[in-house]
Symmetry: D2
Subunit: 257 residues, 4 copies
């Protein structure tokens, strides 16, 4: 049968990235506590395409995923990227996995155990054999407004905020490290299961530690800057303001090396 993709392109322009996205896939990821956990990733894969070829062979991306172990660690991720490069005869490739990651947390007073979910992501760009690898976690926290607290007779508005961390680093890094840095950056961390004494604890702890989004983004950026392995990061904090119908947000991105 005709290989239309291999025909000459009508317009001889190189394409930066061509591939598939919106695929879902069961994967296994590492966690520090229990070793592994099963989760579901949304996946995108792409490669460059030279000016002369009309099209890429999209089914080969899916074949690469099918031949891949589904067991997501640094080595296997690199294997997948290498395989994509070979199958597609490409010079560069990009792979992204976005997935919920779960941690068992104990509530702060009663010690009840509850599962917390964090949306995490892994990005890999392969170019001329060199891999750039980014790990990310979206960490929900609680913020108490310092201004509202300072000026009000009683109370202060609080809300859920999301700390979105992206990093590049040396060696191996646990997702738990990023989540811990995110959770420390807010007025208080959040939990799935809180009994009354825990709710009292969280309320008091957060009110003792009021934070603007500006404070949270600096705290998280500082935590990442001080991490011995992290050599690039970007943090965005979005606060779903309880006194408004819109969000406040702040971004710090450390300069590219």
């Amino acid at each position: 049968m005709e290989d239309v993709q291999k025909q000459q392109a009508a317009i001889a322009m190189p394409i930066d990235r061509v591939g598939v996205k919106g695929m879902r896939l069961p994967i296994i990821v590492r966690d520090r506590e229990s070793g592994i956990q099963h989760t579901i990733a949304e996946v995108s894969l792409s490669v460059d395409l030279p000016a002369e070829f009309k099209g890429t062979h999209m089914s080969r991306f899916v074949e690469a995923l099918e031949h891949w172990s589904g067991d997501l660690d640094y080595t296997s991720f690199r294997t997948l990227l290498d395989d994509v490069v070979v199958r597609l005869q490409a010079k560069s490739a990009h792979v992204r996995f976005v997935f919920p990651f779960f941690l068992r947390k104990l509530s702060p007073e009663s010690g009840h155990s509850g599962l917390m979910d964090y949306t995490c992501r892994v990005d890999g760009w392969m170019k001329d054999g060199k891999l750039t690898f980014t790990l990310g976690a979206d960490v929900p926290v609680m913020t108490v407004c310092p201004c509202s607290k300072a000026i009000s007779e009683e109370g202060a508005h609080s809300q859920r905020a999301k700390v979105r961390i992206r990093t590049q680093f040396d060696g191996f890094l646990w997702l738990e490290d990023l989540i811990e840095i995110g959770e420390k950056a807010g007025s208080c961390q959040v939990y799935s299961l809180l009994k009354r004494e825990d709710e009292k604890h969280v309320t008091e702890a957060s009110f003792a530690n009021p934070m603007f989004v500006e404070d949270v983004v600096r705290e998280a950026a500082n935590g990442l800057a001080e991490h011995p392995q992290v050599h690039w990061y970007r943090v965005e904090v979005e606060s779903f303001e309880s006194i408004h119908n819109h969000s406040a947000f702040a971004v710090i991105e450390c300069p590219e090396e």
Copy 2:
């Protein structure tokens, strides 16, 4: 050209609703303050289809919208539904508009003016010439947790919540009536523009009025039950809990007459 739609259906089954959805359309809606406002609606239109016909004529829904004034009030809405019934030779029809609606609000202390947005909706079901009409508004409010306040030395967690109101009623009803009922139901209403003295006001007002989602849904349901024109309602309150990564919610639906 062949009219494939008019052919006999392979399976002679009546279809409850067939139509189009996901269309966007500029419309004009009434507001009490300035008379009219321009907004953008997402629209769906559908009719029943008897067992004998293979298909409906989808382009006629778009023609009905094209011939419609775009000026959304009760009379013109009914005209649109009548027109859909005639064009599609249907016995029943449904039309839905979902759109942002804006109100200018003064902040509670400094009196600064700011525009607030509310997602509103109009639903009309025409059956055998009889129109059932539903008006709805999604109203953001702030809630302060009564339990957290009662048990903590200082503070209480607060968050944004959404009061989703749907109603059937006699005569004409302003969207502003529904929004007012929703805003009164929370610990405090929210604003787009708050200066420092306003933020103090909102914080103190909300802390003086702690409300669970259960309290909010009852307050809103009670407001609707007491409204002289409303004869059916459904209220859902969803609270984006600041101490959790999930929502709390509550629903009251008044029994169908």
Copy 3:
């Protein structure tokens, strides 16, 4: 500590449903081929609340999930609902799980194996000890337009469509049964991995079998009506029209018994 929830309600109105939503949870579901599969569910749980109580105890929903096995079958689902009723001292309860479900499919000509994802859902309503159980699957298919094919010199527009099935039934029912009924209802089923000969097959098969959304919804409804165990169903088909920027859709709901 004070139990604010147990206090008397300011407005003595019963609440239809109060609970939590937006929680994510790793679960295990049954599949016919491999026995079990790991997936991630979005969960909501709720109960009724009598007029006299101010609030429900939200943490008990999370405790019920924590004490539950995470292994989703009919018996364990019923156990979870029973447990929610007991923990919350409720008369009625509702539990919903929405999750991606995966099937390994062979491509139609070359026999290449690829994983397909389907969004599925389980709903259970417990009332006075009686459980109403609903199983659902959203099944992507391809549709080729019969009108476009009949009137054009060459070709016909095609697009992805989604068949959203909800059912009540006797005994045990595999999700695979619903998916099969959905996939048979379109012009052709879709695949994650298609080599050239498979793409030829899918194209020709779909063009030999043109279907309006009206045809698809009837075909699926008919398949459900003929299933010996199914005693209630609702099907919605949405077609993401390739010639428009909006969708066509059709709904058949079998009357409640």
Copy 4:
């Protein structure tokens, strides 16, 4: 009252961007045909924050919007950015508007008039008094697969695709120019209203012009490269494949000057 924002930051780190997002606002935009049109924008505004200040004054963003005309053209957009810089005492600022934009199109054979919607966006980055301005449009088109057509006895799979264009340019540029480039890049443009003869036209035109996402992205990139005013662009094409449950996509970004 205390100005907490002006206090010294606990961590003396400059913040790249801090501001508000998720606000909705009625605006007026220019169109070539009728002069102006009313639409609704989702808005975000942000500025940099020096290392020494604890927080920015979020209400000033909303005040800037309140004092702005709501009439979106190049001059007024620049005025808004200047105003944000002044009010927030910032060195850099970013403003984004995302809004549906409508064009009246005649169907290709019968000449029926129908309104088409396109999601458009305007981005402005002000830095040290210099404005970088980006205009974008998301343009839906139809694609017919060249491979499927070449290898099949009959037919070829088609689907809706989205051409997402972002540009920087000299002088004034109509959104209509971007939309036209996007619509020319697909196998055929799409319409809201098509009668039977129009559907025949669109089907035949698209089948005479089969295009991969790779072809579409090059065609659009070429159209932008040839536009005398455009000096930077990025195009992404996403095709909602009718034979799969996932998308194919391609990206060309012209190098920064």
